[in-house]
Symmetry: C2
Subunit: 202 residues, 2 copies
């Protein structure tokens, strides 16, 4: 049972992933992947996080791969991308996990996964962002909106480096969940059942 979760920033996707992993007894991967990349490349987590969140990949994955085959990897951005690909495939080969973000749905295309996309309207995303107040404490609503748009745009950009498929296009996912005004806790049990049935029948 492999669940991939793609999500708009502050739409509750991480909470859904974490709760599903708990309920279904699955391994959970999110920031953990960054830690693994750091371990295997010797780069700092901050640097890797920065590359992923700022969406600065200048090359496509195909290009990166051909580059990797012909000469030692010089470019650390490419190295992160290739390593991430390897790590996600390794994680998936063990099965029974939830992978949040990192374009895992694309990297694992063809595997027996269920791919969720979590989204919400701006009002709900700003409200969720406010609840996680620690780091955003001093941001105004306008600034939060700006941040939300920026992070989502970078995720999209990152996704488009790895894939030819459009980020957030419903056809690329098995289930798209609008969390606007929705209490995440209330949807976990039905989602869990949906996923269990899905893997039983498919």
């Amino acid at each position: 049972m492999i669940i991939t979760i793609s999500r708009e920033f502050s739409s509750g996707g991480r909470e859904i992933g974490k709760r599903l992993a708990d309920e279904l007894g699955l391994a959970y991967y999110d920031g953990e992947i960054i830690t693994l990349i750091a371990k295997e490349t010797g780069m700092s987590e901050e640097y890797i996080q920065n590359i992923s969140e700022k969406g600065v990949y200048p090359y496509t994955y195909q290009f990166a791969k051909s580059f990797l085959n012909s000469s030692p990897v010089q470019n650390s951005q490419i190295q992160v991308l290739v390593k991430q690909n390897e790590i996600i495939k390794k994680i998936a080969s063990k099965g029974n996990c939830v992978i949040v973000g990192r374009a895992a749905n694309v990297i694992l295309k063809g595997e027996d996964t269920i791919d969720l996309f979590i989204y919400a309207d701006m009002k709900s995303k700003v409200a969720r962002c406010k609840q996680k107040a620690d780091e955003n404490e001093n941001l105004s609503e306008k600034e939060l909106e700006k941040k939300i748009i920026e992070v989502s745009k970078n995720r999209e950009k990152f996704h488009n480096v790895v894939s030819n498929e459009e980020w957030g296009k419903k056809e690329n996912y098995d289930l798209c969940i609008n969390t606007s005004g929705v209490d995440i806790k209330s949807i976990i049990t039905p989602l869990k059942m949906y996923i269990e049935n899905w893997f039983r029948r498919n």
Copy 2:
């Protein structure tokens, strides 16, 4: 509890709607709306069906409405559109129903509904179309594909007359369900629970 279901042709949306209505004890409206329009306008069901499925509305709903207010309705296409609007609002005012198609999610915008969109890849849609073999018995796979594309295009066209919102755009729905390779029966119980929780919390 009002559930609206929009769906690509042959994606299993009607079956989902019917089963949910049975399980939740809700009234079910699909072709029934055509019958009601026929009764109230005196037009034949075939004619009304034809207008809806062929997507020939030449006017927007806003235009139709202003037209209706200023003079007797001459144009039967407009009459169908306006009547459909009235009927769907009347149905919704009684609550506890499933409405399939007819852009009900748009007509009921602002009401406390849960809006589902059902879709699937072409392979699954052709397979479902084949199962309902009676009327399609003599169609080849290519012809089925053509039919599926045509009907979906007309639904989209019809939707766009009633609404400024894009048909099938996930942001306009609460839950988008990809039925590719999915056994409809297996998703009814979790969906039912999802919807029950949704109305309990919202």
